[in-house]
Symmetry: D2
Subunit: 239 residues, 4 copies
């Protein structure tokens, strides 16, 4: 086995490219009312833009937020991607275990990850585990990943196809993908995959997808600060 097994505790999100600004929202909204397509005149008066964007978000006029595009390169475990790809208003390209040999990089929870679920179905919360629970978790994951990857390599070495051999790999294996979303779809994603005080949605997302969502949110807030503010003001519901 050539590659050494790596255990990571973090998610990575890189903004690859974007065509997304608050002005894009304003232009698109103004076509409804003024038919004004002049790119020069629009967005000059920042306070007017803010008022318009807040209005659009509050009243759920969602379409003006769609004329934007953000492409992220995300590395996260398979169990995160499984949840992520349920969001259908997005474009995905993920690395393929059919076309390439997968690298031995696996996710283990950090010490900060609350391990114990309390409450009943529909209103779970999480609390910190004991250090013994943490050690059992880390040891169980590491032992399984180690054996799984050995067996993966054993099958590849015997000439078995990658797409068959990968069957043994656990869902904590890291994968990577390009994902492209518009701002409206992204706000919907954030509304369901982050938990905030004051959020409209009491259901908790799994912490690991929230770690990815938080990094995407930071990029979004920087690219489209007025839109982001409007999203916050309307209870983090997507327009």
């Amino acid at each position: 086995m050539s590659d050494e097994i790596i255990f990571r505790e973090d998610m990575s999100v890189e903004l690859v490219k974007s065509s997304a600004s608050d002005a894009d929202v304003v232009w698109a909204a103004r076509v409804s009312t003024a038919g004004d397509k002049s790119l020069e005149d629009v967005g000059v008066d920042a306070s007017k833009s803010e008022g318009l964007i807040n209005y659009l978000a509050r009243e759920r006029h969602g379409s003006p937020f769609e004329h934007t595009s953000m492409t992220f390169f995300v590395s996260a475990p398979i169990f995160v991607f499984r949840e992520f790809m349920r969001h259908r208003i997005a474009s995905y390209n993920e690395e393929s275990g059919r076309y390439r040999e997968l690298k031995p990089v696996f996710y283990v929870p950090s010490k900060d990850r609350k391990l114990v679920q309390i409450g009943k179905a529909g209103s779970y919360t999480f609390v910190e585990g004991t250090s013994e629970q943490y050690e059992i978790t880390v040891a169980s994951i590491k032992e399984t990943c180690q054996l799984a990857y050995e067996n993966y390599q054993k099958m590849l070495a015997a000439g078995v196809a990658r797409e068959v051999a990968r069957a043994v790999l656990p869902v904590t294996l890291y994968s990577s993908m390009y994902v492209t979303m518009n701002a409206r779809a992204l706000m919907n994603f954030l509304s369901l995959r982050t938990a905030r005080d004051g959020s409209h949605f009491p259901s908790y997302p799994q912490r690991e997808i929230e770690m990815v969502a938080e990094k995407m949110e930071a990029h979004f807030a920087k690219l489209m600060p007025i839109t982001y503010g409007a999203f916050e003001k309307s209870g983090r519901i997507a327009p």
Copy 2:
């Protein structure tokens, strides 16, 4: 009535902004095989990129074409927008007859527009009309638009709401919209809304939407020449 009636024979399509290049396709496709996200290394070897893009289009690996975004500002008659908006993988914002008074700009066919349909349902073609047919067409459209707009103005002057008064306006009235599409959705649009020798689809699109599609196609061909070539080579079927 303050505005003078304008009759136009053309469509206009302006590329407002884009984040769309052949390199975007290559990056997204390579994540499947190599996991290589380095923006520097990719797309250097143009001939390799072309081979990859041709392969993706031919084999209908469509997802790598989606990490692109083009926003157009289109002015065309309502009957064109009615067909256009049946394409659901796109984002639209159109000027609203509820929020603003609509301007008296109407489409009339030019002398080049073939007016006579021959053949049976499912395999129509068009041939040129006589000059008498053309004159009847232009006169009928102009007379109707004139009266319709006068009645529109009469209702507005009487204090009737814009959304009610617009009921009289004919579908040849110009409207305008922002539309944002990715390259895959655009290729699907072009495949169905243009007619070309050698095209896979014998059905004829209505000439007026084809006039819009041709202008969009010219922008697309300039932004993504290799992808455009691959689209042409695979019989103008969207991947």
Copy 3:
């Protein structure tokens, strides 16, 4: 001109077929928790089903509502269909002015339709007009439709193609379509196209699309009464 012009004041919505019941939602939701696919056991306990469906709607677990399908045959003016077809999570087939000669059936507002818009952009309301305003409206619409249809017929008689001749027809012309939606998409449609006291959305839909939406809502309420109740309880926001 063979056909006599008809003026209508109403919309028609026929439920053509459906595969949509509250039990469908319950089955789909329970696969998440119990993996129970036994069709016999599920939905027996009505009060439990209601609790589950209310929970799903409140927490915006929307996907279980999607395993349902309702097909409607709708007749309404073109300006209503223009708004309707902006809803992209739906399937449409509309009668075509390219393939058939369109019948002279036109919408005119009834005396109940409030004609006068007050307030400013973003917070309009409507109030009743005077009888003079109503008469101007009806007369303007009727006169325009009459001339438009005469000119349509004149062009057809001269051998001009239907797709060209239709340019003169006003957006108050009735069209008809099949539309198929799942319950989640339908709730989203209703949330945006009806105005109710207590609704989350202060923006007013145009009354004519609301007339269509109300008829669809009545079918939905009968087919899926528990889901409909949950939709009402959660402020008419789609899950």
Copy 4:
């Protein structure tokens, strides 16, 4: 550990409910041309229906195929679901490893599964492996699943949350889901996830998703035989 580990070689697909017939396609298509909504008259003349459906499929008039709905209950390994859920024009509800303890049921290839990939990227084919290769594969998968499930149970027994403990489970674990699709989306799925002589697409799907697709195809062919025939005749391209 209470549950005994089960290894399966097959996929299961159950047709839960459907509202999908060839007549649905005919009705929807005829609204374009005739506006005929009479349910009695349509579809009586079977040969006419077949001609129409063949025409629609050949010319890629896809929308009439959408007024149909089929709900399947599918059990298959996670690596199959990962590919399946990339199809976005569909509705999904999958059992959740966050809400329930997952059962120890794992996929191992049968002796018929060709294990060895030959050719180069983009034009792979598969050939049979040796019995030694088969034994290595089965032994590797069984050993890994055994340890993974033991460790899963160990973490659960220690009070660790299900969503954390599941990290160790391999992608060959069976999951189950409801999936609802219309006939157009299903034909697109089949076109990409089955390989047939004479198919338009030379790329091979992974055999395991093809096993699922074949079972879905059998249900589809029975429900909509004329549509299925038209799909076959047009080279298994979705309209």
